[in-house]
Symmetry: C2
């Protein structure tokens, strides 16, 4: 199978694929300029090339941005291929980040109504604490 065919399956362009692969195989969230440094040998030279790929990957739900850390991780939660409802746990010592996949939590938040009765289908939740190792 040709690479272009594989890319088409995932709807990823060349730069998007390079950057997704890097994030996907990383064991920790990656920052934009760390990504840039890592992909320079593959011909991606400018910040904007990285940010454009990141924007697209977030938009299609392949990666998520950890807002409090300005960093990106791959989504391993098959139920959130659209980037609209995310939850993470973040260790305040080692900065390990894990995506939380909880049917109960997502149901609760998707059904949450504020004082005006307003419901929100899109949210981002970041829990902070100490991971197993750091406790």
């Amino acid at each position: 199978m040709r690479i272009s065919k594989i890319n088409k399956m995932h709807n990823l362009s060349k730069n998007q694929q390079i950057i997704f692969d890097l994030i996907d195989k990383s064991s920790e969230p990656l920052k934009a300029y760390a990504i840039l440094f890592n992909v320079q040998k593959k011909g991606i030279k400018a910040p904007l090339q990285v940010y454009r790929a990141l924007d697209k990957l977030v938009e299609i739900g392949k990666i998520h941005k950890i807002e409090s850390r300005n960093a990106f991780i791959a989504c391993h939660n098959s139920s959130c291929q659209v980037a609209k409802a995310t939850a993470f746990s973040i260790c305040e010592i080692c900065e390990k980040v894990t995506e939380i996949s909880s049917a109960g939590l997502s149901k609760y938040l998707a059904n949450f109504k504020d004082k005006d009765g307003m419901k929100y289908s899109k949210y981002n939740l970041e829990f902070f604490g100490l991971c197993k190792k750091c406790r």
Copy 2:
């Protein structure tokens, strides 16, 4: 009552008080450099002076940071004078931000356990949608 006395009540230093007052009277979240611009006439000239005050104000729970917007709002929720559990609704059109004060929500999140049975007392939740006006 002297100003120094008032400051003492709130434990705010001069710069902290100036910056808190500005944020507190603002109807929208303020960004650090917008704050800097606004307080230059009061003698605060450098970014670091702003960031130091912001850090302290966040730490003592007088203000919160809206992570997805890099902006700050005053806390009007008497139950969260320590900055550890925050929830906001954010309008994706007009960028209006409201702090959510829901006993049910905070109870649910404070008691939430992940797959490993881990509880998190600190979290930040950002809901996105359209406010009343923008709907």
